[in-house]
Amino acid sequence: MSRELHAFLIILIIGAATLATRILPVLVFGRKDSVPEVILYLGRTVPYAAMGLLIIYCLKDVSLFSSPHGIPEAIGILVVSISYLLKRNSILSVLIGTVVYMVLVQAVF
């Protein structure tokens, strides 16, 4: 098998596996006219739980036991939270938080 063909098949397979995770739930629960009650309930609650999951997922490589002990992440999240609570502008908070974090990891720690 040529290198290109192998690479193409890998992309195809990984694409199919990823697509499956996005489409299978819909094929299983979304085909009927009415959406099952439990799915409606999950539709209302999961978005709230999912944000916590995504935050931890983003921070999964942080180690508290080796330098810099997650300090840049903690400061970054603090900056984002405080600026968001003060100004309620998510674009601004994302911008400030990211700049602070980049300075911290590139120049300070």
């Binding site: 990823t18 489409i23 629960f29 439990v38 999950l42 539709g43 999951l53 939270s81």
Partner: protein, 292 residues
């Protein structure tokens, strides 16, 4: 004349029990509809079965308006900037492994998941197909969680929904599961555009990264924190709009617990099982005690 029957789950209080499901398609009604934006009709349709059937019958996706474009752009902008930078990082890495911009472009369309695409690089040359499939499924499994909670939201999207699901990345999900749509904006167009903008910026970024390679390279270490920041602002927003914080707390601490217990490679799947299990167990409690 159109005789329209449908199933729609209302919250129990609002369910009109004895309402005539077949609504004649009269001229008066057409006039009524033209006076209202899609958003108003949608809002009323949730409370009144007649409005709902009107909405479904008259539902045509309106052409993309300026308001739709600017609303979607406003939502997507921080994501787009980050995606162009992160995408170009992916394109540069692909180039270094001997796969040019067209490969990055193709991968961005066939896979379209940052994590899965970065993981795929290690398999391109000689990785096993089975291992690639299993790994991709593991890192992408969180999408199952996301798609499940979009079923009710996207059920009226017609053929468009297949694109919306295919391109439902973490960031599009965070933006579109909030149910915040500016007034006068077509919800369907808004969802479509936000998803499309996010995907395009990632794909274009990875193509440019592959094309210009190290010319573009600046020290972007830490730019991925923008995603953490974005999810944090959504988290805070959700926290403030609801009295019942149980799902938010469960997501945060349940996942943290699983990260500690299972390690950073496989914790997502146990987290999802834990969260879904507890949410379903607490269903009655959650439904009774708050708005959720």
């Amino acid at each position: 004349m159109i005789v329209f029957t449908f199933n729609f789950d209302y919250s129990k209080e609002n369910s009109p029990q004895n309402i005539d499901l077949t609504v004649p398609f009269s001229i008066q009604i057409m006039a009524l509809l033209t006076k209202h934006t899609e958003t108003t009709v949608r809002t009323r349709a949730k409370e009144d079965r007649r409005w709902y059937s009107l909405y479904i019958m008259n539902r045509k996706t309106p052409p993309v308006s300026k308001a739709d474009l600017s609303a979607a752009l406003k939502t997507s902008l921080p994501i787009m900037v980050t995606f162009v930078v992160l995408g170009s990082g992916y394109g540069i890495l692909m180039e270094k492994h001997g796969y040019g911009p067209l490969w990055s472009l193709m991968s961005g369309i066939l896979i379209f998941s940052g994590t899965a695409q970065f993981v795929s690089i290690g398999f391109l040359d000689a990785g096993s197909f089975a291992a690639a499939a299993v790994t991709a499924f593991m890192v992408s499994a969180r999408h199952i969680f996301f798609s499940i909670s979009m079923i009710d939201r996207y059920k009226e999207e017609g053929r468009r929904k297949w694109y919306l699901y295919y391109a439902l990345c973490d960031e599009s999900y965070a933006m579109l599961s909030r149910d915040i749509t500016p007034d006068g904006v077509s919800l369907s167009n808004y969802r479509f555009l936000v998803t499309l903008f996010n995907q395009s910026s990632w794909v274009i970024g990875s193509f440019l990264g592959g094309l210009f390679g190290s010319l573009l390279e600046f020290n972007s270490t830490g730019i991925d924190f923008a995603m953490t920041a974005l999810f944090t602002t959504v988290f805070l927003q959700q926290w403030m709009e609801r009295k019942n914080h149980l799902p938010s707390l469960l997501g945060l601490f349940g996942t943290l617990l699983c990260r500690i217990l299972f390690g950073k490679d496989i914790f997502l799947i146990p987290s999802m099982i834990l969260i879904l299990g507890i949410l379903i167990l607490l269903r009655n409690h959650t439904e009774e005690s708050g708005e959720l």
